[in-house]
Every structure is written in C-alpha cells, then in structure tokens.
C-alpha cells in the first residue's frame, strides 16, 4: 500500500502541471479559436527564465515572478505581431504558430545551447509519512498548481473580466454590440494563457531537465487533454488532464514509459474520435 502513495502523488503533480499548461491552451483556443502550437515553447521559456534567474544568483521566488511576466510580455508581442493578423484563419494559426515554435526553440538553442540544464531545488527536505518519504518541493508544487488552477477558474467564473470573456467566447459579435472590446479581450486572454504557461514552466523547472525540446512533451498531451475533456472551457480541461496525465503516469509504473505514452495517446485519440464533444459533452464538434 505504502509504495502506492508516491505513485499517486507523482501522477497528481503531473496532472496538475498538465492542467496548468492545458488551461492556457484552452483559454486561447476557446476564446479565439486559435491553436497555439508555440504554447509548449512558451512553457519551455518559462523554465529557461528560471535557469537564467538562478544563473544570475536571484532567489527562486524572483524566477517564479519573472517567468510569467517575461513570457506574458512575449505573449503580448506575439499577439500584436502575429496572431491578430490571422485569428480569422484558424488553420493558418496552426501553421504560423508552428513556425513560431521552431523559431523560439532555435533561439533558445542559440542562446543556451542544445544541452539540458537543471535548476536547483529551492527546498531540499522531504516529508516522512509512515513508511514513505516525499520531497517537500513536490508537495509545494502541487499546492501552488492547484491554487493557480483555482485562481484561473475564479477569474473566469467570478470576475467581471471572466463575464466578458465568457460572453466573447459564446457570442463575440453580440458582445461587441454591447460595447465589449473583443480585440482587447482576445489580447489579454492570450497574455494570460501564455503567462500561465511561463509560470508552469518555471514551477516544474527544478524537477525536470530543462532543454529546448521539452515543449512538445507538454504540448501534445495538453491538446489531447482539451479535446478529451470537452464541456465548456474550464471543467473539461480538468477531466481531460486527469485522464491523459493520470493514465500515462499510472501505466508507466507497470509497463515501460514509452509503452505507457503510446497507450495513452491511443486512448486519447479513440476518445476524441468516438466522442468529439469530449467526455463531459457539451462542446460543439469542430
């Protein structure tokens, strides 16, 4: 029994990070219909901001604050220079952001080199609970991720910004006739989505190896989570993230990680194919 605890905790922390990444994707996809293929790279840049912050001798918390700011600002630039010109051509956004992802990846290679970097854990200790021990940082990571997910839900469900955002998602033209500046909403949603990715990257940087290729490993599961979940912009991401993240993590205990990954992709593809509106239903299939 006790060896099951770390497994479940590992799976949960992976799910939470995945949901954080997928939430940013979902905000942009749900709001603007834009598939941002560079989202994984924005996540990666968040991790690199952390690498740089530690290289400069800044405290861990500074990196955590800097990452969403830097990546969010990058998101603002991307929205202004790229997305706003093509958001009415949804398929072209896939291609253009794909070009962006290639460029960003290579930019990081040019600056930091192709090799992987590591970030020191800010807290070294671990908690002992009965027969098993677990690193404190991972527990903090889970708590912070859960809080961020909760905060994002709160922003979109409880605030005026969220009311406007949900209106723009449901009926953009009607929202505009009521005086809502839809372009502005698109822009800030994009910035929030990218800042979330940057923050997620910075948070996981200490427990993974940071390299220029890391984005794809989160982008594809992130998208699969969105498509698997369905049902409105937010709740579906939780369910999808839990299915995709949970299955791949738990399977990896019994079969090889590669086989687990293949299995979870296939399961996700089957779900998306057989239930295009998502597990929770409610999404109009595209």
């Amino acid at each position: 029994m006790s060896e099951l605890f770390p497994i479940i905790l590992d799976a949960s922390s992976y799910i939470l990070i995945l949901v954080l990444v997928a939430l940013g994707l979902m905000i942009v996809f749900g709001m603007m219909g834009v598939i941002n293929m560079a989202h994984g790279e924005l996540f990666m840049i968040g991790a690199y901001v952390m690498v740089m912050a530690q290289g400069l001798g800044l405290p861990f918390l500074a990196g955590i604050i800097l990452a969403p700011l830097v990546v969010g600002f990058l998101g603002l630039l991307i929205e202004t220079a790229l997305i706003r010109h093509i958001y009415h051509r949804p398929l072209d956004t896939i291609l253009a952001t794909w070009g962006l992802s290639i460029a960003l990846k290579q930019l990081i290679v040019l600056i930091f080199g192709p090799e992987s970097h590591s970030v020191a854990l800010p807290i070294d200790g671990s908690v002992t609970l009965g027969a098993f021990t677990y690193p404190i940082y991972r527990l903090i990571l889970m708590a912070v991720s859960a809080a961020l997910i909760g905060g994002t839900f709160w922003l979109f469900v409880k605030t005026d910004f969220g009311l406007k955002a949900r209106a723009v998602i449901a009926r953009p033209d009607t929202a505009a006739t009521l005086g809502i500046d839809t372009r502005r909403m698109y822009r800030w949603s994009f910035v929030i989505g990218t800042a979330l990715a940057g923050l997620a990257g910075a948070l996981v940087a200490p427990i993974i190896s940071v390299d220029p290729q890391m984005g794809l490993g989160y982008l594809v599961p992130g998208f699969l989570s969105i498509l698997v979940g369905g049902a409105g912009p937010l709740a579906g991401v939780l369910v999808g993230g839990a299915v995709v993240g949970g299955v791949s993590n738990l399977l990896a205990v019994w079969i090889s990680p590669v086989a687990a990954l293949i299995t979870v992709y296939i399961i996700a593809i089957l779900i998306i194919r057989l239930k295009p509106e998502g597990l929770l239903g409610g999404r109009r299939a595209k």
Binding site: F29, G30, M31, I35, L100, I169, V220, L227, I266, K286
Partner: protein, 343 residues
C-alpha cells in the same frame, strides 16, 4: 495548358541540371526530388483534398520500411525485387491510410484543427513505436538497404552510380507529377474542390464524401510511400526519423512555403527549401533554422497561397478557369463558430 507547360520546363531544367552542378549535387538533388514527391503527396491531400495532415511522413516512413524489409530479403530471401518492393510500399502505405482514414473520417468525422492534432499525435506514436520495434532495428533502423535494381528482358542492373539513379528518380517523379496534374484537372479534381469548400452540399448531391476523402487520403499515402521507398534506396537505411514528426513538419513547411494548392509550387517548395538549407546552413550555421521558422511564419501570414504559387498563379491566371457549377458555386463560408461556450 500553360500550367503543364511550366511543369515541362521545370522538369526539363532538372533533366539537364546534372551537366552543370557536378556529381555531389546530382546526388543531393536526387534526394530532394524524393522530398519533392513527398511534397506533392501532401499538396494533393491538403491543398486539394482539404485534409490538413500533420503526420504525412508516417506514410513516407511506412513505405521506406516496407521497401527495406522487402529488398533486404527479410520476408523471403529470394524475393528482393525492387519493383515488388516499390509496389508493396505503395500498397502498404495506401492500405494503412485507408484504415486510418476510415477511422478518422467515417460517420461524424474529424476535420480541421482536431485532425491536425490527431495526425500529429499518431505520427508521434508511430515514431516511438519504430524506435522500440527491435525486429525492425529499433532506434538504429535497418541498415544496408540495397539500391534500386532494374530488371528487364533478363538483364539486371543495380543503380549504384549517381547519374543513372538521378534520371530514374527524375523519371518516376515526373511521371507521378504529370499523372496527378492530369487527375486534378478531371472531374475528380472538381469533386475535390467541392469537398474542400462545401462537403455538406456535395453529400446532398449524392456523392459519398467519405469515399472521396478516403480515395484522396490513400492516393496521397501511396505517393508518400513511393517517395519513402525511393528514399531508402538512395540513403541505404531506413530509420525511425523517416516516419516521424520532424519530417512531417518539414514537409508541411515546404508545401506551405511553396503553395499547397499548386502541385508544382509544393514540389519546388521542397526542392528550393532543401537546396537553400544545405547551402545557407553553411553560411548561417544554427541561425538557419531560426530563419526557416520565421520565413514559414511570414509566408503563412502574408502569402497564404504560398511564396511560389503566388507568382505562378499570375503567370497562368488566364488559363485557370475557376470550375463552378450552380450546385457548388462559391458562396460565403460559414462564420467560424467558437469551439465551446457556456450555453
């Protein structure tokens, strides 16, 4: 047919090029021609069929592995005919595409962005699978794939030299190019245009949208499989990189930069990009990929029809009469509906 005329000029230029570019570049150009064939297959399925496939290299890779397995005699030691290998590669890829296409398109099929994500995921799955399929060489792939062997009238000739290899490949690629060009100019091409723009109306006219999609998907896969099969005979080995995600996206870049709605532009997009790559990557080093990514982005935003197709279209505009019949006449597209909402 001004369109074909340009095609004939292009292939004519390619045919005389070995006289000017030397042995090394002739060898390189053979490989680029094969990439061009992959680009033609992607242009057919994406630009004409309206199916944005993010994993076109999977068919390339399947063709490559089948060719390798056959000509290395891994199935039956005496059955190493190149002809048989090429045929099996095309048939194998087409059959895989048929099965996959049926899964993807039947009933409430998947299209648009969902399709892009799913084909990307499938390409990733296949790449991982090949990396771990040890009977097929795993990560290292299959080495020592023999070159093409021509057998006719009891004579047999193995293509080890660069020049004859180049001409054989050029001949195959040109044949496929003109065959596909003819095909898309028939009523089949018209149906593809209709399926791309108004699938609903087409099905109300009694056409099976599924069958059309399956046919173009499989045909494109067969061409990609042929390209993959030719590629392994040039390179001498088949590895998981052929099937994967990187080559898929490279093909997407070639076709988008060239012009997805014009076979010749897509084909030249591959050749130019590859040529530029081997040429410019020496000058720019690691900056080349950065430049390529940015060029791709810019061409998608500013020239959605493609960098090469835009001037080509100007040249051939008079000849390209828009096919239109009352039933499938163009009309405003439905406004993009948001993927989800609180209601």
């Amino acid at each position: 047919m001004r369109n074909s005329l340009i095609g004939i000029i292009v292939f004519g230029c390619l045919a005389v090029s070995p006289a000017f570019i030397g042995d090394y570049w002739t060898g390189q150009l053979s490989a680029y021609l094969v990439y061009g064939l992959l680009a033609i297959s992607l242009s057919l399925v994406w630009g004409y069929g309206g199916i944005l496939c993010f994993g076109q290299a999977m068919f390339f890779g399947i063709g490559g592995y089948i060719m390798a397995v056959f000509t290395k005699g891994m199935i039956y030691p005496d059955l190493t005919s190149s002809y048989l290998g090429l045929l099996a590669a095309m048939a194998g890829s087409a059959m895989f595409a048929l099965a996959l296409g049926f899964f993807l398109f039947a009933g409430r099929g998947i299209s648009g962005a969902y399709l892009a994500i799913i084909t990307l995921a499938i390409a990733l799955v296949l790449e991982r699978l090949m990396n771990n399929w040890y009977a097929l060489g795993g990560y290292n792939g299959l080495l020592n794939v023999p070159p093409l062997k021509l057998v006719a009238f009891g004579l047999s000739y193995e293509l080890w030299d660069k020049l004859p290899t180049f001409y054989i490949i050029l001949g195959i690629v040109a044949a496929v190019f003109f065959a596909v060009t003819l095909l898309v100019n028939t009523s089949y091409g018209l149906l593809l245009t209709a399926i791309r723009t108004h699938p609903d109306r087409l099905s109300s006219l009694g056409y099976s949208v599924l069958n059309l999609r399956l046919s173009v998907f499989s045909l494109s896969a067969a061409i990609a499989g042929l390209a993959g099969a030719l590629f392994v005979t040039l390179d001498g080995f088949a590895s998981p990189t052929l099937i994967g995600f990187t080559l898929s996206t490279e093909a997407l870049i070639w076709v988008a930069i060239g012009g997805k709605e014009m076979l010749l532009a897509a084909f030249l997009g591959a050749i130019f990009t590859r040529t530029a790559e081997s040429w410019l990557s020496e000058i720019f080093g690691d900056y080349w990929i950065l430049i390529l990514g940015i060029a791709f982005m810019v061409s998608v935003v500013l020239l959605p029809k493609g960098l090469l197709a835009t001037p080509f279209e100007r040249l051939t505009r008079r000849k390209r009469v828009r096919p239109s019949s009352p039933a499938i006449a163009p009309s405003p597209p439905d406004p993009p509906s948001p993927p989800s909402g609180p209601d």
